[in-house]
Subunit: 116 residues, 2 copies
Amino acid sequence: METSNVIESFSALAQATRLDIFRLLVRQEPDGLPAGEIARQLSVPHATMSAHLSVLSRAGLVVSRRQGRSIIYRANLSHMQEAIRFLVRDCCAGHPEVCGPLAESLIGCTPNQDRE
Amino acid sequence: METSNVIESFSALAQATRLDIFRLLVRQEPDGLPAGEIARQLSVPHATMSAHLSVLSRAGLVVSRRQGRSIIYRANLSHMQEAIRFLVRDCCAGHPEVCGPLAESLIGCTPNQDRE
DNA sequence: TCCATATTTTTAGAAATATGGAAACATCAA
DNA sequence: TTGATGTTTCCATATTTCTAAAAATATGGA
C-alpha cells in the first residue's frame, strides 16, 4: 500500500460518522447493508451519507454493488489489514517489543473474545 | 482508548508531514529527536513543525521532554499499539479471518525483517 | 543583565471538508 | 409510460485545517 492511500484511509476514518459507518459495516460482514439503511441506522441525511460513503469508497475501505434499486455497501477488511500493516511496519523493523504484544493480543482472537 | 481519541489519532496521522514526522521518530526510538532537528530533516519551517508536533502530541502519538534549550520528541509506540487494537477489535470479534493473517505477519517480526 | 539559541504562540489568508435541501438519476412494477 | 423507491449529484453555507511569517517565551552562557 502506498503512502498516499494510507493517508487517504486514515483521513477517511478520522471522522466520527465515517468511523461509525465502517464499524457498522464490519459488524454486518459478509452481507453488507444498503446505503439508505446505513443512513437510517445512524440517523444521517441521505445526501450526507452518500458523501461519506464515497469518501470511504474512494479510500478503498468499503466496496459497493448494486442490487435492484439498492446499493449494498460492505467493509473491505483486507484493505484495513493492509493499512494496519503499513502502520506497524516501521516499528516492526527495529522495535519488535511493540509488535510482539500486538501480535499476542491478536492470537487469542476468537468470535466471543472479551473487549477489554 | 476512547473513540474521540482514536479519531484524533487517525486525524493526526492523516497528513503527509505528520505521518513523516511520526515514522521518523519511530526510527529514532528510543532516543528521540529535538524539534529543530526534525524540522531540518524534513525541510519544514519551525512554526509549521511546531504546529504539527502539537497535533501529534495532543493526540498522544508523541511525547516530549525539555533538555536544555531543546525539546526532545519521541514516538509513543504504546499509543499507536492501542489505536491499532481499537481498529482491529471490531473485526476480531466475528471475523478472525482478518486478525489471523495480521497476527501471523507480526509474529515473524524481527529487527531485520523484509519490508515487502 | 544582555545576548544567542530553541521553540511555541499568534495571526491570517488560502484551501479543504462537512452538511443537508433540492433536483437529477436509476431501477422496478404496474 | 407513469409512479414509487433508493441513491447520488449539485449547490451554498459553515467549519476546520494548513501554512508560515512575526512576535513572544524559555533556557543557558558570558
